[in-house]
């Protein structure tokens, strides 16, 4: 059971303790044997000392002292488990609106988003908000797990109503793939094992879906994008003339012989070879970290992007993006910030805030001229250096950026480029 040829699925969970999120994660970890005896013992001991009459699996995921004291999830926690065919990385994010930025963080790298609703409550403002955020972050696969089916007598009517309501709501979002699954995390129905209580449900169990959802085609294998990270120059006798451009492929397939353009300079050349450590390879694709060599001695440095001659991003200093604001001081027009996009950094001036998006209702509030903490809005920026951007909907790597407060050095905003 080597992990060397396994697949990888990163998924983000959203929901509050009340929705049974911790119970569900605890069950996935327990059933896939990713929880160890000493971890379970520690949680059991704490549960007893707190006077609970059950083992509180939330204690497994709430890692910080302050979280355990308050009984809430604040920060993103990463969890790992594997089945024989796949390794899973869970970004376990808090559900409350005041932690939206943490959910955005967890969703930024996710292939799949898992939204939990309580079957008794039906869709709530919170579950709609979670779906909106996952769709804004272009998480390609969405699962709505209708939990606590045991508390509604495994009633198909209840499930169908939530299913219908959510499917209708999802038409307003960018959700390329949606699966709605009735479960009971507490009793294990349709989590790993098929439920005997819901013969009317013919779809996959949650685990089956997580194991089989097709993620390979989510990558862009057409538009070659290679942000240069680091210039490798050994300066040794053995590799005297070696000059390679190291980076991680952000899109498309690179091959020796490809005619390329270096941005923003616009110089053209051909790829002479591609190194993967001490081997030459014939193709490089996302997310490989490789070293690219060019035939000509053109000027290439960190922050430049290598793309195909007839398929390259347009360098631009005017950026139109959806921005999630992450700090207490509001974002306002005329504000100056540092910006990091792929391997390129510069400064940005906030030109305008077109609207604030109400993530509960999708209403666009054009009256507000600032973004508060955890708010998302459409923002235009002017940058000091041209950025080599693609729409976020096309490429999550070349379409995203972060904003940094120049005084504190803190990451204060996350941007997704429109287009």
């Amino acid at each position: 059971m080597a992990t060397t040829d396994m697949d990888l699925l990163r998924f983000a969970t959203a929901g509050s303790v009340d929705d049974g999120k911790s119970t569900l994660i605890g069950r996935l970890l327990l059933d896939s044997k990713a929880i160890f005896e000493d971890q379970l013992e520690a949680v059991e001991a704490t549960s007893v000392s707190k006077g609970y009459d059950y083992t509180d699996l939330a204690l497994l995921t709430d890692g910080l002292r302050s979280e355990r004291e308050q009984g809430i999830t604040i920060d993103v926690a990463y969890r790992y488990f594997a089945t024989p065919s796949r390794k899973f990385i869970i970004a376990d994010t808090p559900g409350h609106v005041q932690y939206t930025r943490n959910m955005v963080t967890g969703a930024s790298t996710a292939d799949l988003g898992l939204v939990l609703v309580d079957a008794r409550q039906g869709l709530t403002e919170q579950s709609r908000r979670h779906a909106v955020i996952l769709s804004l972050l272009r998480v390609p696969h969405l699962v709505l797990a209708v939990n606590k089916m045991d508390l509604v007598d495994f009633d198909q009517e209840v499930f169908d109503k939530i299913h219908r309501e959510f499917t209708q709501f999802a038409t307003k979002l960018n959700v390329p793939d949606l699966e709605v699954i009735p479960i009971s995390a507490l009793q294990g129905d349709n989590v790993v094992n098929r439920s005997e209580h819901m013969p009317w449900y013919s779809g996959p169990t949650l685990m089956h879906h997580l194991e089989h959802v097709h993620v390979a085609s989510d990558r862009d294998l057409i538009d070659a994008r290679f942000p240069v990270q680091f210039v490798v120059r050994p300066k040794s006798d053995e590799f005297h003339d070696y000059r390679g451009y190291a980076g991680q492929v952000a899109g498309g397939i690179l091959k020796p012989g490809d005619e390329i353009v270096v941005l923003p300079s616009g110089m053209t050349s051909k790829i002479s070879k591609i190194d993967l450590f001490d081997k030459e390879i014939t193709e490089a694709f996302p997310p490989m970290s490789v070293t690219v060599h060019l035939e000509d001695d053109v000027d290439v440095s960190r922050g430049d992007m290598i793309a195909r001659v007839n398929n390259a991003p347009t360098p631009s200093q005017d950026i139109d993006a959806m921005v999630c604001w992450m700090t207490n001081t509001p974002l306002q027009p005329r504000q100056k910030l540092a910006i990091k996009h792929t391997t390129r950094t510069g400064r940005a001036l906030v030109k305008d805030i077109a609207y604030r998006l109400d993530v509960n209702t999708l209403h666009r509030d054009q009256e507000t001229k600032e973004l508060g903490v955890n708010e998302i809005g459409r923002v235009t920026l002017r940058t000091t250096v041209p950025l080599l951007v693609d729409p976020y909907s096309k490429n999550r790597t070349t379409g995203s950026f972060i904003l940094i407060d120049e005084a504190t050095g803190v990451t204060v905003g996350a941007g997704m480029i429109n287009g």
């Binding site: 302050s66 969890r79 963080t105 930024s108 390979a216 590799f239 397939i253 694709f285 790597t397 990451t411």
Partner: protein
């Protein structure tokens, strides 16, 4: 050699379907992190314990900059209580890669009055001021660590770029958001960043990678005969550095270590696993985490790791 064979098989396989195995994805992510740090920080350093995780880090750093040498030093905190086998492996890696080794010794730190000589404080605890002093003295702005999020629940919350203030402290409630693969390395004077390139690896991934790459790790990870005694439910190595207490009896057993730490705090497990494959089989069915099973330093309280991390631990 087995490692090389794996390598060949991989390149051919991935090219057919443009798919990377999870281990290759983890490797690519880690290499990306090493390169970001080398490009953006003035003076990075790799914290090296000699354990399997720090050896995997050395291998990833080697790959990230090949054929150039690793463009930063490696730093080891010498507790005076390290396993001799671990030091031998360290020296061979350093010689092969031609990297600069900086040793920060706890004994020297005590001698120079940097840290108090308090017999009651464990050497593990004294690593913190020794390390922080070495970082400050050498002006290191980023220190790579081999911490993994699957190890412990405080670590599960830690960023890849983990900010430390001018006292070297971690503020878990006030961490910078970390999105996509866009890392923020901004620092003020006197602050530094801890970097965890293998955050997303599990214990099993580390073993699979060691097996695939065919790289050297200290012998003590493999099954061997050792004179041990039982303490606090753990098997400890007989050594003059760790005097026996009343009632403790030494016997020879077939054991191996799951982690490499301070010889007085690191326990071993009974095991006959003498190859990487056998270790992988053992890890796959293990029912205790490597730290819970064999690390006295993590057992003091539920928040032992969080507290040490706040002070500036790895």
């Amino acid at each position: 050699m087995q490692g090389a064979a794996w390598h060949d098989a991989r390149v051919t396989q991935t090219q057919s379907d443009y798919r990377l195995s999870q281990l290759d994805q983890l490797e690519a992510e880690s290499i990306h992190i090493f390169r970001e740090v080398a490009a953006e920080f003035e003076k990075p350093v790799l914290m090296f314990s000699g354990g399997k995780d720090s050896i995997v880090m050395l291998r990833l750093a080697e790959k990230a900059f090949y054929p150039a040498k690793i463009p930063f030093s490696i730093l080891q905190v010498d507790t005076g209580l390290d396993f001799p086998e671990v030091m031998e492996t360290r020296d061979r890696w350093v010689a092969r890669l031609g990297v600069n080794l900086v040793v920060a010794s706890i004994d020297d730190a005590i001698k120079n009055g940097i840290i108090p000589d308090a017999a009651k404080i464990s050497r593990n605890r004294l690593q913190i001021p020794t390390l922080l002093n070495a970082i400050e003295e050498n002006g290191f702005t980023a220190a790579f660590g081999g911490g993994r999020r699957d190890e412990e629940k405080a670590r599960a919350k830690e960023r890849v770029y983990s900010h430390r203030d001018e006292f070297g402290q971690w503020d878990p409630k006030n961490q910078r958001p970390e999105l996509w693969s866009l890392y923020n390395g901004r620092l003020h004077e006197g602050e530094h960043m801890r970097i965890f390139p293998i955050s997303n690896w599990t214990e099993l991934d580390v073993w699979d990678y060691i097996g695939r790459e065919g790289i050297e790790i200290p012998d003590i990870y493999f099954s061997h005969q050792r004179r041990v005694f039982e303490r606090d439910g753990m098997l400890m190595s007989e050594t003059p550095l760790n005097p026996l207490r009343d009632g403790e009896v030494v016997s020879e057993r077939t054991v191996r270590f799951r982690t490499c730490g301070d010889i007085t705090l690191t326990g071993c497990v009974e095991s006959t696993a003498s190859t990487i494959d056998e270790i992988i089989d053992e890890v796959a069915v293990a029912r205790k985490t490597e730290r819970g099973a064999t690390r006295g330093d993590d057992r003091f309280s539920e928040a032992a790791m969080e507290d040490r991390k706040k002070e500036g631990y790895f």
